[in-house]
């Protein structure tokens, strides 16, 4: 599948998990398609699985019974980022990679290349299966008509979202060394993005006279640029990744203060964007304390144990 030695190595290592992610996405898509095809028969108002008007607009198509680009494929990208970076850390494959005759830069970009090509393959195959199911399985008397504007926009939107989600889980897996906190951190960050995209949408709406679709593309483009910046920053960090920090919350201890600052600003604004001053102060206090306890937790934990031991005598 890959001709380059390093790509082959990365593929050998990750193919099982990537297959599993692909299988999960396929299963999810097939299930959604079959449920939609079943549900549409009890819909007495519409005889079409697709809204013909919306499908002809240059905007991502997401209807009740059909999506141009399934959300399962975005989940697959999110999981692939997590898997490709975190599993090598957890299973000590990084030791092997770093000791091999390949530079870290090459390893980093080769992993991304293998992940992207596999995800693109998964996207293509699962979407083909999805469309095939709709094409073959549309009940008689019902229609399923798709158009290029809706499909192409859906794919562009889907790929941009997948890229962003991949970058988030990839970068977080690079800097966080503990499995549980990693999942909590990425999940929290990913879910909060929905809120932030709404906030940034509101800002753009107030400042400009763009349409909703244009605003969406602007926000999405900005997110892709940020994702790209994360990947490039990640490549610089990967060069300095020292494995004695395996198992620690932060793989780069010098990032503790910047992460703390970003966390405090991000969470405070998220919780108090439309609120009054009191909510802002409370949110700020909460995030300051929580962030401190979270990031300096090992030391606090140690001090707690020492205090308990002293009390016991």
């Amino acid at each position: 599948m890959f001709k380059n030695r390093l790509d082959q190595l990365i593929w050998q290592r990750h193919r099982r998990m990537l297959f599993a992610i692909g299988a999960m996405a396929l299963l999810g898509i097939v299930m959604i398609a079959l449920i939609a095809l079943h549900d549409v028969t009890s819909d007495h108002y519409s005889r079409s699985l697709v809204n013909a008007v919306t499908m002809q607009q240059w905007a991502p198509y997401r209807g009740i019974y059909f999506s141009g680009f399934s959300v399962w494929l975005m989940i697959a990208a999110w999981l692939a980022g997590l898997e490709m970076m975190h599993l090598d850390l957890r299973d000590n494959f990084n030791q092997f990679l770093f000791s091999s005759g390949f530079s870290r830069q090459r390893i980093y970009w080769s992993k991304i290349k293998v992940a992207f090509l596999t995800l693109l393959f998964i996207d293509s195959v699962t979407t083909a299966v999805q469309y095939l199911i709709y094409w073959v399985g549309t009940p008689s008397g019902y229609t399923w008509h798709i158009g290029w504007p809706g499909i192409l926009s859906s794919w562009l939107f889907g790929l941009m979202m997948s890229f962003g989600l991949f970058a988030i889980s990839w970068f977080a897996s690079l800097i966080i060394g503990q499995e549980g906190p990693l999942v909590v951190t990425i999940a929290g960050f990913t879910f909060s993005l929905g809120g932030y995209s709404a906030i940034s949408g509101n800002i753009v709406r107030k400042l400009t006279s763009l349409t909703e679709t244009q605003i969406m593309w602007c926000v999405l483009t900005f997110a892709v640029i940020l994702a790209l910046a994360l990947l490039i920053w990640g490549s610089a960090l990967y060069q300095r990744l020292s494995l004695e920090h395996n198992g620690e919350y932060l793989m780069f201890p010098h990032l503790r203060v910047p992460v703390y600052i970003v966390f405090v600003i991000y969470v405070t604004f998220f919780f108090s964007w439309t609120s009054d001053g009191t909510s802002f102060v409370l949110s700020l206090l909460f995030t300051l304390l929580f962030g401190y306890a979270w990031l300096w937790r090992p030391r606090l934990g140690e001090q707690w144990h020492q205090w308990r031991e002293r009390k016991r005598g």
Partner: protein
């Protein structure tokens, strides 16, 4: 052709684990690395292998820094016995990984050795006993055909048969002067029979680089029985005490000269006997401070 370690230092959590390590290593050499627990032997290996980023220093092969010319690292082999990725893989799967990283990996020899040692290729690495894992590690090391092979505690917890197998394989491998081994071990007797050279780590520094043949030509281990229990000045000044049992003293004199011999004989000891000098004696002698032997002086 040499591997040079120059000024290598590594701190973990602000504590220096290895400091300013310098040595050279050529194919055909079997170097022992000894030092007390926690002195930084494994950290040295991990830093040499680019798993840990050093504060200072570098590793070069034939003058080329392995960070600048990463392909040089194909000549260097190390399996971390504590942290490796092999656990979930079956033995037959391993050559795929190692064959990709080491261009000269000998897959046929790997299969042959696995069969020779009656290891099941279908077994998962993590299901193997400690001894079997050590054997698999060594088989991978040998079949990688890397020039410089690092073995971390290869004899740890192994039965005598496996130890002999490992030792024999290592000796056979260096016979043609194409490969070199750097072996850390607490089993000094085992290392004694293998190594030509021993590096001694103490307080995170490389304090001695012994050429064993040279040391043995200068040093002597002597068993003395003196007339009284007072340790004479000549011994205090020139020797390291290995064992004291009543009036029986076992000492190592690292720079044995005829003058010292005369002084010792002048004490008219009841017994004066030369014993074979082992690596363990050197280790004890150099780490006397740590082991508390100096208190007897």
């Amino acid at each position: 052709m040499t591997l040079q370690v120059t000024g290598l230092s590594k701190q973990i959590s602000g504590r220096p684990i290895i400091q300013d390590i310098n040595f050279e290593w050529a194919p055909g050499e079997i170097i022992g690395l000894v030092g007390r627990n926690g002195v930084g032997k494994t950290t040295l290996f991990r830093t040499m292998m680019n798993q840990y980023v050093p504060e200072t220093g570098h590793v070069a092969i034939d003058g080329e820094d392995i960070l600048n010319v990463p392909s040089r690292q194909e000549q260097l082999f190390f399996i971390d016995t504590q942290y490796n990725f092999l656990s979930t893989y079956r033995l037959w799967e391993l050559p795929r990984f190692f064959g990709t990283v080491y261009p000269n990996f000998d897959g046929d020899r790997f299969t042959k050795l696995i069969t020779q040692f009656k290891l099941d290729p279908n077994s998962q690495y993590r299901r193997l006993s400690k001894g079997m894992r050590a054997l698999v590690n060594l088989i991978l090391a040998l079949t990688s055909n890397a020039t410089y092979i690092i073995l971390d505690e290869p004899f740890d917890g192994l039965d005598v048969i496996v130890r002999e197998n490992i030792a024999t394989m290592v000796i056979d491998e260096v016979a043609d002067q194409q490969k070199g081994f750097l072996i850390s071990s607490h089993d000094l007797n085992e290392l004694d029979g293998l190594s030509d050279r021993v590096l001694l780590l103490k307080d995170s520094r490389l304090i001695h680089d012994y050429n064993l043949e040279e040391v043995r030509s200068r040093a002597k281990k002597i068993q003395l029985v003196l007339n009284d229990k007072v340790i004479p000045d000549v011994l205090k000044a020139h020797s390291q005490l290995i064992r004291v049992s009543g009036r029986v003293l076992v000492v190592v004199i690292t720079d044995y000269t005829p003058a010292i011999e005369q002084e010792l004989k002048a004490l008219k000891p009841v017994l004066f006997e030369e014993l074979p000098l082992t690596l363990e004696d050197l280790f004890r002698a150099n780490l006397a401070h740590d082991t508390g032997y100096q208190l007897l002086k």
